[in-house]
């Protein structure tokens, strides 16, 4: 993307007025989207963003500038702008000669999205639309979207690192509206992976459409969700976002460092039920949050965060790790070259246990069964988190019975972790976009069927 000697000179410029670390992060991103709505192919969209961000660090202070101009002159002026915040009289650090690090791809891409004709992508939309509408006359509206993106990144820093990665992601969305006597309901399904067009072989359009349509139809029969504390069983793959919110964010070293995490100072302590082993795994093959190197050039890793309920470590980016005299855990990520990196999750997975999922449901006298979740949010300083349930059912005498309307669940992270009292032997993942400080990055969460003994369900029924 940029010649090695240009990078070397840009880093030199960045540190000319002071600073102890400089970095060039260049990115070339292309995207292609297609959308069917209301029975029509509404639009195809192509996008292109290319540029570089330069940061200069002096002590705890970071100067940052970015440019869409990848010429040497463009990079030089970004480097000069970034260096202004790190200006000092003692002169900058020495720039180590760049040495290209060979990066093995995270996994193979079987069908490059660019090699697929647009007509073929459009055909997938039509197939999903037809399949969803065929599910019943109650399906009143269907929206289908296909999106692929390719992100080539290059990281060069004053410590001599030079590494590149080529990241491909593909996602397919189906959203249905169903109309019945009690009003309208929605159902959505949106598989995404860090792979190419082969996504549509693994998740056939008809299959995705059926899940979305059936979800909307099931919710037509839903009665108001209960209000108050109940045992909650999360279907495999549907509830990983609970752990992403309940403790994932609180284990990000930047928030811990600001004293904005309830988990500060708890490494080595029992913070969760012994049934809980939680990993953040950027190497998990083909998953939505997977990559070969993070956005600071560190290789993706599998990091154990909680082992049998004991907190083992936090997640780290370059700057936070440097302050503690250790190395990054491969969790330094940014949305685009226009953003500074920070500590982010990748694929956050609660590992499977021993229980039969049917036994977990069968052993619940009165509770809520969550089959699909929306997003969530957490206040890491208090540990209080919420997440939205979009498909849920009552459990009565150990049997899944009536559907209930969408509702928010609320809990406290450390409390919820201790209240996990059954962990199944199945497993699945869920793709999403994690937002932090205005930056969205692709992540996944995963978990087996499990039960939390008590969470507050925010419904309207007594």
């Amino acid at each position: 993307m940029i010649e090695q000697d240009v990078l070397q000179r840009t880093l030199h410029t960045a540190l000319r007025h002071g600073g102890d670390f400089a970095e060039v992060f260049a990115e070339d991103r292309t995207s292609s989207n297609a959308r069917l709505d209301d029975g029509k192919i509404e639009e195809l969209v192509s996008g292109r963003a290319r540029g570089a961000g330069v940061r200069v660090v002096r002590g705890e202070t970071t100067g940052f500038a970015h440019t869409a101009d990848l010429s040497e002159a463009g990079l030089r002026s970004a480097a000069e702008a970034a260096s202004a915040a790190a200006r000092s009289d003692d002169g900058g650090a020495h720039v180590t000669a760049l040495e290209r690090r060979e990066v093995a791809p995270a996994h193979d891409i079987r069908i490059e999205p660019e090699s697929v004709a647009k007509a073929r992508k459009v055909e997938m939309l039509q197939r999903a639309n037809d399949a969803a509408r065929a599910r019943g006359d109650a399906i009143s509206q269907v929206s289908v979207a296909y999106a692929d993106g390719r992100r080539r990144i290059l990281v060069a820093n004053s410590e001599g690192l030079l590494a590149e990665d080529d990241q491909v992601r593909t996602r397919f969305f189906v959203q249905c509206v169903a109309v019945g006597d009690t009003g309208m309901q929605t159902g959505m399904e949106a598989p995404g992976r860090s792979i190419g067009f082969e996504l549509l072989d693994e998740f056939e359009p008809e299959e995705v459409a059926h899940i979305a349509a059936d979800r909307a139809l099931a919710m037509l029969r839903a009665r108001p969700a209960p209000s108050g504390k109940l045992p909650v069983v999360l279907r495999r793959g549907a509830g990983g976002v609970l752990f992403h919110e309940a403790c994932g964010h609180g284990l990000e070293a930047d928030l811990v460092g600001r004293d904005a995490s309830v988990f500060r100072g708890q490494v080595g302590e029992q913070v969760a039920s012994p049934l809980v082993t939680l990993v953040d795994d950027g190497t998990y093959s083909r998953e939505w949050g997977t990559f070969a190197i993070d956005d600071e050039g560190a290789p993706a890793q599998r990091n154990v965060l909680i082992e049998n309920g004991v907190l083992t470590d936090f997640m780290w980016d370059y700057l936070r790790a440097r302050q503690e005299g250790r190395v990054s855990s491969g969790n330094g990520r940014r949305e685009t070259y226009q953003h500074l990196p920070m500590v982010r999750m990748t694929n956050t997975l609660l590992l499977a246990g021993d229980d039969d999922p049917d036994d977990i449901i069968g052993g619940t006298a009165h509770g809520l069964y969550c089959a699909a979740l929306g997003g969530g949010q957490v206040n890491t300083a208090t540990g209080d988190f919420v997440f939205g349930v979009t498909e849920a059912y009552l459990i009565e005498d150990g049997v899944i019975t009536e559907p209930v309307r969408a509702a928010q669940l609320i809990g406290n992270g450390p409390e919820a972790l201790r209240l996990v009292d059954a962990v199944g032997n199945d497993f699945d993942t869920w793709a999403g976009t994690c937002g932090k400080d205005g930056q969205g990055v692709p992540v996944s969460s995963g978990q087996p069927t499990l039960r939390v003994a008590e969470l507050t369900v925010g419904g309207t029924a007594a």
Partner: protein, 450 residues
């Protein structure tokens, strides 16, 4: 200021081939962002970002492409991509760029939304302001034991749109703000509070207000416990009312209505809210942060009355939804350069009532005062109307603030909440985020707790 952008947009629009409609939307923002922590600058970003979106319509088929660059080669490549993309769309007779007749249905207001001082004040002064917010937050109360983040940010944005039928418009606006997140502690409990000050001009900012609000919102939650579940009246803080209006605005967009994705489909002319509720979207009001003389397709802005004394009177339309619904565009196209025009609100506000915030509280009697909500995105559904969000706040007893509560949700449905609005406060204040806020009393919601 925006003349070069307007020239670029017009130049692109001028490349339309016979039988082809073309529209270019160009934007450029210069911004400064300062984050401080522990009395030092944590990061300083000074940057300019720009981009272009090109829309092509041939025989009712639309194609679109965008690029985060104004480089001539990149712009030409986007045009080629947009033309290629148009070949795959389903023909739709309502598709097309805005006509001069549609654009000039009303006279565009003359608005001054640009404050020169944002660009003139030195970066050092901006850094100092961020540091001042942090210091001031610490100084407010001994129970403030940390400031999770204090920051200053500004943007000077220029936008231009032009199409091959000769419609063009340019808008420029500034915006700056400072904020603080206070961490208050007492015994083992920690609470957080957010405070900010925002304006068009640097001179509008008051770091003391950001510090005071952050501190007050954090400290007054100390000692919060989880209450029992029950139904009760709920008082919304102006910031929460702003968020509710945002959800409502999405459900009143012409696109949601046309595609059957709104709980308000088919309700026009009906009483959907309490008689005290009148809701306008007024981007012609320069006090609104979303004010603009034109919408994102170049149509003159106007006041759109959406709910009048409780009766649903209209929706927000862009050119496409205006044609399809037969009511015509009302200047409500919204977009960034990376998307085709949608439709939505920019400056929503309820007509204020007579009671002050304290009087609304007194009228509530025994209620829950909601200071902030969480999970708004996952907990509200404009199609089903379901509304269930996490909340933190303070119990109101005999019209006075009493003990704080945490780990609760509040739930109802959007239609129910509109009918249950008992008081609209007089304390209208324009807030960033496309709507104004004021204290609001809703006569009953379900509170879930222990």
């Amino acid at each position: 200021m925006s003349s070069d952008l307007l020239e670029l947009a017009s130049d692109i629009a001028g490349r339309a081939a016979p039988g082809e409609q073309l529209e270019a939307y160009v934007s450029r923002t210069r911004e400064t962002d300062v984050k401080v922590f522990d009395h030092a600058v944590e990061s300083l970003t000074v940057a300019e970002r720009a981009g272009v979106g090109v829309r092509v319509i041939v025989d009712g088929r639309q194609g679109f492409a965008w690029a985060a660059s104004l480089d001539p080669d990149v712009v030409s490549a986007a045009l080629t991509d947009a033309r290629d993309n148009a070949e795959f769309a389903t023909p739709d007779e309502c598709q097309g760029v805005v006509t001069p007749e549609e654009a000039d249905g009303v006279t565009a207001p003359v608005l001054d939304l640009w404050a020169e001082d944002v660009g003139q004040v030195s970066t050092d002064a901006k850094v100092q302001l961020a540091l001042e917010v942090e210091t001031a937050t610490f100084a407010t109360d001994p129970r403030v034991r940390g400031v999770e983040q204090a920051a200053y940010g500004d943007g000077m944005t220029e936008v231009a749109v032009a199409n091959s039928l000769g419609v063009s418009a340019a808008v420029q606006r500034t915006m700056c703000s400072c904020m603080s997140i206070a961490l208050a502690g007492e015994d083992a409990q920690t609470q957080t509070g957010y405070g900010f000050s925002a304006g068009r001009a640097f001179a509008d900012l008051d770091p003391a207000i950001a510090a005071r609000d952050a501190s007050e919102r954090a400290t007054r939650l100390l000692g919060a416990t989880q209450p029992e579940s029950r139904r009760l009246p709920v008082v919304f803080d102006p910031l929460v009312t702003r968020s509710l209006l945002g959800v409502l605005g999405a459900a009143l967009s012409g696109e949601a209505i046309l595609k059957g994705r709104s709980v308000f489909v088919g309700r026009e002319g009906e009483m959907i809210a309490a008689p005290c509720v009148t809701l306008d979207d007024d981007p012609t009001n320069p006090e609104a942060f979303g004010a603009s003389p034109h919408d994102a397709e170049g149509v003159a802005s106007r006041v759109n009355g959406l709910i009048v004394a409780g009766v649903l009177r209209g929706f927000l339309h862009n050119a496409y939804t205006g044609r399809r619904s037969g009511s015509g565009t009302n200047g409500a196209a919204v977009r960034g350069f990376a998307s085709t025009p949608g439709c939505g609100a920019r400056a929503l506000a309820l007509t204020p009532g007579r009671l002050s915030a304290a009087e609304v509280m007194a009228a509530a009697g025994d209620a829950l005062y909601v200071q902030s909500v969480s999970g708004l995105h996952s907990g509200t559904n404009p199609v089903s109307g379901d509304f269930s969000v996490g909340a933190e706040g303070i119990m109101v007893r005999n019209g006075q603030m009493a003990e704080p509560v945490r780990e609760v949700t509040i739930a109802s449905t959007l239609p129910r909440m509109l009918l249950d609005i008992a008081e609209v406060g007089a304390d209208l204040t324009w807030l960033p985020g496309g709507a104004a806020g004021m204290t609001l009393l809703i006569s009953e919601m379900s509170m879930s707790g222990g």
